[in-house]
């Protein structure tokens, strides 16, 4: 709760710093290890929550949908002359040798103000973190640079923990460690998939790499409800003003069953989020022509039959404004947390407050984005590359459907 108070007392300023990326991959002696932390949450109206992390990797049939890029790295720059591009690269802090290599006419295709650069592997691997941050953030503006526009996100700076169990080779991990950018505090980004493909010979190895890069971390929380004296308060919290009454029978039963104290939090979610929890969307989710995004996920949290409302649709916006009211901070199960750009108020993301610092979220409409439980402090950095952020909270109106 302290984290939340901090988050909401001030307008949150999270930017991608230019600090050197730090990983624990020092030297070549890498030992893969896993994140063994059991997270004990702060007790509150929700009871006590214990969680651990696990990873979700997209199913192979989804991985198969990815078009494998060439191993030649390609950068697209728009809306600038060649001279401006040259000046930009200079200002990004590249070395003279890198600068020359990048501006080598044989490795640039220009068409007016659109320039395609093909950086050499040497340039890719020798860029400083500061230069990489600067250049890749600019490249990320344009969707023609798919891996910069939507980079792979690595929440844990300890890469050996993050990739534990993926089967990646130590050399691959060392390459990733050299190429990540962002910061170890707010999360690492990785965009150089083409470079990694250079050392891969088989299709199955390609899929293994993609599967590893696409993994998403989730919390698996359990609630301790041993305090029968406090049952009414705990039940009131999780039923959220009776909107989530379906879970009452289980809660009542567990509290009456002497000796049962721990319950997987999935039993306390409303039916629709419980249905989706820890799964990736299948093609069936797109039969209406759209795949569920953050707004769909958020506004349907309490809806037994989900409504087709999306973040970039008028009906989605109207539904939100009609049924939600702003609140100072999320403190009730089911509150809606929104992340927006401070500069223009554009909503970047929304998720549902569960308890303590845990949220229920789907971080994009992509087939590669599962429905997960996350900690707010791990979620917000996902959007830090968009600059200054504001985090605000809303609550479903009492008489909303």
């Amino acid at each position: 709760m302290r984290l939340l108070q901090l988050l909401f007392c001030i307008s949150v300023w999270i930017a991608v710093p230019n600090a050197e990326s730090q990983t624990n991959l020092e030297g070549s002696a890498i030992t893969f290890s896993e994140d063994r932390e059991v997270i004990k949450g702060n007790p509150g109206l929700w009871g006590e929550i214990e969680s651990y992390y696990t990873f979700l990797e997209p199913p192979l049939e989804t991985i198969d949908l990815i078009t494998i890029p060439s191993e030649q790295t390609e950068w697209h720059f728009f809306d600038m002359s060649l001279l401006q591009l040259d000046a930009f690269l200079g200002s990004a802090g590249v070395t003279p040798q890198q600068h020359s290599a990048l501006m080598d006419p044989s490795r640039i295709f220009s068409n007016g103000e659109h320039h395609r650069l093909f950086p050499t592997p040497e340039v890719i691997t020798t860029l400083s973190s500061a230069s990489r941050n600067t250049i890749y953030r600019v490249l990320g503006q344009w969707e023609e640079n798919p891996f910069h526009h939507k980079p792979f996100f690595i929440e844990n700076p300890n890469l050996s923990q993050w990739f534990y169990g993926t089967g990646l080779e130590t050399s691959q991990l060392q390459s990733i460690a050299r190429l990540v950018y962002g910061s170890s505090n707010s999360g690492l980004l990785f965009s150089d998939l083409p470079y990694l493909l250079r050392d891969i010979e088989s299709g199955s190895e390609e899929k293994k790499l993609l599967t590893a890069l696409c993994r998403v971390r989730t919390l698996v929380p359990r609630i301790r409800i041993s305090d029968s004296d406090n049952f009414e308060n705990i039940a009131r919290y999780w039923t959220s003003g009776y909107r989530n009454k379906d879970i009452l029978p289980v809660m009542e039963s567990v509290i009456k069953t002497e000796g049962v104290e721990m319950l997987d939090i999935a039993h306390l979610l409303p039916p629709t989020p419980r249905k989706h929890l820890f799964t990736f969307p299948g093609t069936n989710e797109g039969v209406s022509g759209r795949y569920p995004d953050w707004l769909w996920t958020s506004i349907n949290f309490f809806n037994f039959i989900p409504l087709s409302r999306y973040a970039d649709s008028t009906s989605g916006t109207e539904y939100f404004h009609k049924n939600y009211v702003p609140i100072p901070a999320p403190e009730q199960f089911g509150d809606l947390i929104l992340v927006r750009k401070e500069s223009n108020g554009e909503f970047l993301h929304g998720c549902i407050y569960i308890a303590d610092d845990i949220v229920y979220t789907k971080n994009s409409a992509s087939l590669f984005s599962p429905w997960v439980l996350s900690r707010i402090k791990n979620l917000i950095p996902l959007f830090s590359r968009f600059g200054k952020l504001e985090v605000i909270a809303y609550r479903l109106e009492v008489d909303a459907p």
């Binding site: 289980v250 039963s253 009456k256 069953t257 999935a266 069936n284």
Partner: protein
């Protein structure tokens, strides 16, 4: 639901696949009393442990007619005289016939003859007579068992006893009867008349509707065959959505137990431990055991299952007959041996654990339960047989 059932080829005995036993030593996690935990036989499903929970319908889901205190016994097209003769044939004494004739209320308001017995008539009826009455009423109104009959899980009133006054239990016991291994009663209005307040009446309805559910967990340790577990729980490709989590567990060796709510297909996961909502009801029908089974692997449930179609419509193209050993997601259907009539269906999960919704009543939840517990309300001593069907992947 009017289903026409095909002649069936393979017959299994109506026996639970295997019993729940303490099969392997396992450290019980902190916060769970080891005495409560039961262990399944290890199998292709892995090592499962579970404890019971009791599911009661919430008070606000009790519809008003459930609280009716007027007993209505149907006699269809019979006249009063014919109905009295039927009571006589059911074994009631001349005194009881006189009681029924003089102190009961007989009415025919276009829906056939209805008899409202006096309390004395109810109190003086014995188990044998109640069984005979049930047959009479079912003949007069085939939907009578669905509407009125209550079967007690485990044929044991202890499931009802928690929070219910001993004297109330005694009255309840007096109107129960045992038929083919199932403990039942149909005198709910009479019981309600004995309750002093609305709250006690509601509590009684909730208590007599209690259903045992299970919270089941899969133990995973470094020796677990995760490929085998993935193969079993993904049901030959019918339940692929759970694979990412299972693979995640592979990479998280500290995970020791995972609640199998996460291993159920999306629709079953959504409905687990809940009661039917209005949005799933149709004018003349409501989700029942068969609806639950047919929608088990569906991404979204279809009420097409409530349409009047033959069983073959649902299973001929999408299922094949299955032989033991049973597998996760198998559709199990119980038939009357005498006429092949459908009795009940459920979904096999693992060992002795099944996923079921017992009847169309919205007082009955969608739940995981022990097969033996579920069968206890379906007259297990009757002559019936079981057929098992397996869904064809991507059908």
């Amino acid at each position: 639901m009017n289903r026409i059932f095909p002649i069936l080829l393979t017959v299994f005995g109506l026996v639970a696949p295997c019993g729940a036993q303490t099969a392997f030593p396992s450290a019980v996690e902190p916060g769970l009393n080891p005495k409560l935990v039961k262990h399944c036989q290890p199998g292709a499903w892995g090592n499962l442990e579970y404890y019971e929970i009791i599911l009661e319908p919430p008070t606000d889901s009790l519809w008003s007619s459930l609280l009716s205190e007027v007993s209505v016994w149907p006699f269809a097209d019979s006249t009063k005289e014919e109905a009295l003769e039927e009571l006589k044939n059911a074994g009631f004494s001349p005194d009881m016939i006189t009681e029924a004739s003089e102190n009961g209320i007989w009415s025919n308001q276009g829906r056939g003859m209805a008899f409202t017995p006096s309390d004395k008539f109810i109190e003086n009826s014995n188990s044998k007579q109640r069984i005979a009455l049930l047959e009479l009423f079912t003949k007069a109104d085939p939907n009578f068992p669905n509407r009125v009959l209550m079967n007690v899980e485990g044929a044991d009133l202890s499931i009802i006893s928690h929070g219910i006054a001993p004297e109330t239990l005694k009255v309840l016991e007096s109107v129960t009867f045992m038929k083919n291994g199932t403990l039942s009663f149909f005198d709910r209005p009479y019981l309600l008349r004995k309750m002093p307040t609305l709250e006690t009446k509601q509590n009684l309805i909730r208590a007599i509707s209690r259903t045992k559910g299970l919270v089941v967990r899969l133990s995973v340790d470094p020796t677990s065959n995760l490929d085998g577990l993935a193969d079993y729980w993904s049901a030959g490709g019918n339940n692929r959505s759970i694979l990412p989590l299972l693979h995640g567990i592979r990479a998280t060796s500290r995970v020791s137990k995972i609640d199998i709510v996460h291993l159920l297909p999306p629709t079953a996961k959504k409905y687990l431990n809940t009661f039917t909502r209005d949005s799933d009801m149709m004018p003349d029908d409501s989700p029942d055991c068969f609806w639950t089974c047919m929608n088990f692997f569906e991404k979204n449930p279809s009420n097409r299952v409530m349409d009047t179609l033959s069983l073959g419509h649902y299973i001929n193209e999408d299922f094949k007959m299955a032989q033991p050993p049973l597998r996760f997601g198998d559709l199990c259907v119980i038939y009357e041996r005498s006429n092949g009539a459908f009795v009940h269906s459920y979904v096999y999960i693992a060992d002795d654990i099944v996923f079921t919704k017992n009847g169309m009543s919205s007082l009955r939840p969608y739940a995981l339960t022990e097969a033996s517990q579920m069968l206890s309300i379906y007259e297990p001593d009757s002559d019936r047989y079981l057929e098992v069907y397996r869904r064809i992947p991507d059908s």
